[in-house]
């Protein structure tokens, strides 16, 4: 049922995407040749219409750089090459085929300079963050990269922390956020945190408290616009009907989800439901008009936080009304 519908994307990205898909199709036509290529050597290239030889050469070049350590990471451990060539390619099928994400209002993310994307958080596992990253990476005309701020739990867990750093995520703290914004990066934050992602299914699409609103003062200090972002579809991927609190405490987790399938079917229960997603970016809220001391004004912070929160909540309701079904 998942692959039944193809949902059109925005005009320009769609054209680009189509061209790439066509290019990939023709390039992969002579299959017997490709068999000799080692597995990681042929990552999907973003440019269309490349011949097989060029693709093999590109893949081998990539392999060569990787095994000799000849690549760069930034101060946060962001490995752009690995993200572009491998991590995004792994997430893209989930994004395109499984959740069939529809992106709206991408023009609200500026083509240059910093911006803070504030999104709702849901879905028991932070797949919404990853999909948001793919959405910006694949569709933004200026090929911008979203740098997500992640909970500290992410950086405690082995393997996860390594992948998160390489994908450009960093710890959700004011220092890191400000440093990234001042460097002109697009930073993504989900201020609801665990309260949002771990809320019961009955509370779906009800925004939780936005932390202490620290994200607003960070954006204000950096003078970057705040882009509200609403994600519909992520709430239903793991309908959390219960929370095994004792088990969570024993495991040191903020919550331990119980879904109709999860602990009962074992790993099979951890497969998310193939819901249909919509990601809508709203009008940016400028923050550069405020004086520098405004970041210390709690009233202003509360007002701005509420404004962002209301915008996201209203957009969520609007998108929910427009939605035909959870799965299509």
């Amino acid at each position: 049922m998942a692959d039944a519908k193809v949902i059109p994307f925005g005009e320009e990205p769609r054209a680009r995407r189509k061209a790439r898909r066509v290019g990939r199709g023709t390039a992969l036509a002579p299959v017997p040749e490709a068999r000799t290529v080692p597995e990681p050597a042929a990552p999907p290239q973003p440019t269309a219409g490349r011949t097989l030889d060029e693709r093999i050469a590109g893949g081998l070049n990539f392999l060569r750089r990787r095994i000799t350590g000849d690549y760069e990471v930034d101060d946060f451990g962001y490995d752009k090459e690995l993200t572009d060539q491998v991590l995004m390619s792994l997430l893209r099928p989930i994004y395109e085929k499984y959740f069939r994400v529809e992106v709206k209002g991408l023009e609200n993310i500026p083509s240059e300079g910093g911006a803070l994307v504030v999104a709702n958080h849901s879905g028991t596992l932070p797949l919404d963050g990853l999909m948001l990253q793919v959405a910006v990476h694949d569709n933004h005309p200026a090929e911008r990269h979203l740098r997500l701020l992640a909970a500290d739990l992410v950086f405690v867990l082995p393997v996860i922390n390594e992948l998160a750093r390489k994908a450009g995520h960093t710890l959700a703290c004011a220092e890191d956020a400000q440093r990234l914004l001042e460097r002109g990066e697009i930073v993504g934050v989900m201020p609801e945190g665990f309260k949002g992602i771990g809320k019961p299914f009955a509370d779906r699409y009800k925004l939780q408290r936005f932390g202490r609103g620290g994200f607003v003062s960070t954006a204000l200090k950096a003078g970057v616009p705040i882009v509200p972002c609403s994600i519909v579809g992520a709430e239903e991927i793991y309908p959390m009907i219960g929370n095994a609190k004792t088990l969570a405490r024993v495991l040191g987790l903020p919550y331990f989800p119980v879904t109709p399938t999860f602990p009962w079917l074992g790993p099979l229960g951890a497969v998310p439901l193939p819901t249909k997603w919509t990601i809508q970016f709203g009008e940016p809220i400028p923050t550069d008009g405020f004086p520098p001391e405004a970041a210390d004004d709690p009233m202003l912070m509360f007002n701005l936080t509420d404004q962002v929160r209301e915008t996201i909540q209203h957009t969520l309701y609007k998108l929910l009304v427009q939605r035909r079904s959870v799965f299509f």
């Binding site: 392999l63 060569r64 101060d75 490995d79 390594e162 220092e175």
Partner: protein, 349 residues
């Protein structure tokens, strides 16, 4: 009146190099190297005094020689040669610093004190911000080992700076110093044929080249140049970041990922039988990594390192010889594969 410089820790490689370097400085009249054991290397004509900084006798040395600049480099993570274990290292670091600073406080001649500290004062924890600035408070204070020593040393230095506001105090927090003749535990680690790493973690590392370390110590020990200020606390690190996986690939040494408890346990076991000096805080550093910001070093101290982190590491890798999987031969293999594939793919076009 010219400069009389006292350098502690002169029997170590870096200390020895620094003594030889400032001995050539035209502004410096006299250099006195101090350590508890005589150095194996020559000191370029500088005087050497065999004195233990843990004893109050160091105050007499300061008074008799009229020292005006003290460069305290005897803060180390490992014992020199076979000179005792961790306990004596800690004593030299902490008690030695106390005695030395006490002597400085009493000496009317001292005008400048330079402390070689380390970025390990920040600790390494997953909940820390990605990049440390000089005034980032560490989330978890180092619980022991060299890192705790540096925290305590810096505490004494702050106290000294309060009591003697007329003395210029400069604390240099060095990232891992590497170079052709580095003898640090990290250099030893990178010389292993197979690098044990912690499974599921890829720490970010920063390095400083020995030449840069000597140069920045020299800047800190001299009068400040125009437009710069050389008292205060500064992070010293080369530009850029290397991941541990990258360093192992560039060295050509394969990694052996182990579970974190295994690594900690093996580290303790090896340390207790005296094979390695690998301390828990170093394991933590190789688990979570550490990156510091160096804006203050550039803008206030006016020091621009000659080597980036990657260049420092390349220099170090060259001095260590090739490992089991030299990157050059791996690259050649890939090139050969590319050649074969293009030769086979050619006719079909």
């Amino acid at each position: 009146m010219g400069n009389v410089v006292l350098v502690t820790g002169a029997a170590r490689q870096l200390g020895g190099r620094f003594v030889r370097r400032i001995q050539r400085d035209p502004d410096v009249d006299r250099v006195i190297g101090v350590d508890a054991v005589p150095p194996e290397h020559h000191l370029g004509g500088a005087e050497f005094l065999k004195a233990d900084i843990r004893h109050p006798a160091i105050a007499r040395v300061l008074a008799e020689t009229g020292v005006d600049t003290v460069v305290h480099m005897d803060i180390n993570g490992t014992p020199l040669g076979s000179r005792g274990g961790r306990a004596s290292v800690k004593e030299t670091n902490v008690i030695g610093t106390m005695q030395l600073l006490g002597a400085c406080q009493k000496s009317p001649n001292v005008q400048r004190v330079v402390i070689k500290s380390s970025t390990s004062v920040y600790g390494s924890a997953p909940r820390d911000p990605a990049v440390f600035t000089e005034n980032t408070p560490p989330k978890s204070l180092p619980s022991g080992g060299f890192a705790k020593d540096t925290v305590e040393v810096e505490g004494y230095v702050r106290g000294f700076a309060r009591r003697r506001p007329d003395v210029a105090v400069c604390v240099l927090r060095f990232a891992n110093v590497l170079g052709p003749c580095a003898d640090s535990p990290l250099a030893e680690y990178f010389s292993l044929p197979v690098l044990p790493t912690v499974l599921g973690y890829d720490p970010r590392l920063q390095f400083v080249h020995e030449d840069d370390a000597i140069e920045v110590l020299r800047i800190a020990a001299a009068a400040p140049r125009r437009g710069t200020l050389n008292s205060g606390t500064f992070n010293i690190a080369g530009d850029g970041v290397l991941l541990l996986s990258q360093t192992s690939r560039r060295l050509g040494r394969p990694t052996l990922p182990l579970f974190l408890p295994t690594v900690t346990w093996a580290g303790t076991a090896l340390r207790s039988i005296g094979i390695t000096d690998f301390s828990p805080e170093q394991i933590r550093m190789l688990t979570h990594g550490r990156v510091v910001e160096t804006t203050q070093m550039r803008e206030t101290l006016g020091f621009h390192p000659q080597y980036t982190t990657a260049e420092t590491f390349a220099e170090f890798a060259r001095s260590r010889g090739s490992g089991l999987l030299p990157p050059e031969s791996l690259a050649r293999t890939v090139d050969r594969l590319a050649g074969v594939l293009s030769a086979r793919g050619g006719p079909t076009q």
